[in-house]
Subunit: 221 residues, 2 copies
DNA sequence: CGACAAGTTGATGTTACTCAAAAGTGGTGG
DNA sequence: CCACCACTTTTGAGTAACATCAACTTGTCG
């Protein structure tokens, strides 16, 4: 499950640490917070199973989901002295976590900390992409772009393929993620399906015509 | 100028390093890239003078400005083995940079690396806030929120006060930053001024009624 | 079967975009 | 000092994208 760590070559020692961490797994129920805004940060954790999201709630009830987390993702680790959570991270489905193993400096361990650094860099890239989506793409493009990105993330950790995977979020949640309303997401999903690009039905996403999808979102990456 | 480093207590050794780095300052002309997307990252740098921005260009010409950088900001440092720039960073005005001094491990130097970590955490917080702005705020709120945030950032490095500062960006650039069009930014700025909240004229921003501004953006932070 | 959440549909309203042109602004060179 | 240029700001009229409100339908699970 933690084939996330295929990001960098891990030596035997690293693998041992990762396996040991797996034994310390904890679970969080849906809608429960993994990390509440403003609280001191605990140790970094790895998401093993389930979906989680980082969100921000406005005083009047509007909600923005900043980032969706899937298995293999690294959760929040502040590098400075008094780190506090900048946002709330909540479990969406049932979630299991394990503490991220601490790389052993000196002896080996390069691979592991390298994997963490890469993982953080990927999350940063996703944030940049999210800003571009919200700022400059139409609803149609936003949905297409996000679904394809997510498919690739899932495929990279072995959950389905890039054109056929399970995606449990409700349309309402997708709306809060992409800065839309649930109603509009529904209509646009239908349009995307009518156009023969994508089928989103229940939990399943099927990419019907990858080539044309990529034409639409012309490498926004 | 590098009072940015008031973020964490710096000892004498740190101060010496910072001063030494100042002597290595380089300058970049307006509209020139400081860092081009995809290129290997050079050493981290500190922005001493002028404004810069991180942006992404879509194939059809649309542009999203992801983040605006003001003096005191830390520029791009990847922590993994083969870091490449995720986005382009360009100078907006004339800009001067200096290499970020490398903290001396072992002897002192805690303060400096602490300041870097904090600086990165602040940038991450700004990205989260930017996502929320684009996804869930109206044009009116976006502009107000961003102007106030920027005023505080400038004041914190001694460039004007939080209610009276210099801001050289054109309305077109603000539009690309906030996911709007130049025309609309213009109209909304006028509305904000008519409502007696803010005056933006030429390079100068004046907060006319801080209390009511904060009512509007009710601590979105 | 009944209840509740999620998805779907239609009618209408609002925000922000588009296109086009006028009016200011600052810098340059004659 | 003025004329000219490019750029930015401003204004108006029409339009498109997305939101809102309010039903209604379709699961799903006990």
């Amino acid at each position: 499950m933690r084939r996330l760590s295929a990001l960098a070559p891990l030596d035997d020692e690293d693998c041992r640490l990762v396996r040991a961490a797996g034994d310390l797994a904890t679970t969080v129920a849906p809608r429960r917070d993994i990390l509440a805004k403003g609280l001191p940060l605990p140790r970094a954790q790895i998401l093993l199973h389930g979906w989680a999201y980082r969100s921000r709630l406005l005083p009047d009830g509007r909600r923005q989901i900043l980032h969706v987390m899937v298995p293999g993702d690294l959760i929040a680790a502040g590098a400075h002295a008094n780190p506090r959570a900048l946002t709330t991270i909540s479990a969406y489905t049932n979630v299991t976590l394990c503490p991220a193993p601490v790389p052993q400096m000196g002896q080996s361990g390069e691979g592991l900390s390298e994997a963490y650094a890469l993982s953080r860099a990927m999350e940063e890239a996703q944030l940049f992409r999210q800003i571009t989506r919200l700022g400059r793409l139409t609803a149609y493009e936003r949905i297409l772009d996000w679904v394809l990105e997510t498919g690739e993330r899932l495929a990279s950790v072995g959950l389905g393929t890039a054109s056929d995977f399970r995606m449990p979020l409700t349309q309402e949640v997708i709306a809060d993620l992409l800065g839309l309303t649930g109603v509009h997401v529904n209509r646009v999903l239908q349009a995307i399906w009518r156009d023969g690009l994508l089928r989103v039905h229940g939990n399943m996403v099927t990419v019907l015509d990858r080539k044309r999808c990529e034409d639409v979102i012309g490498s926004f990456s």
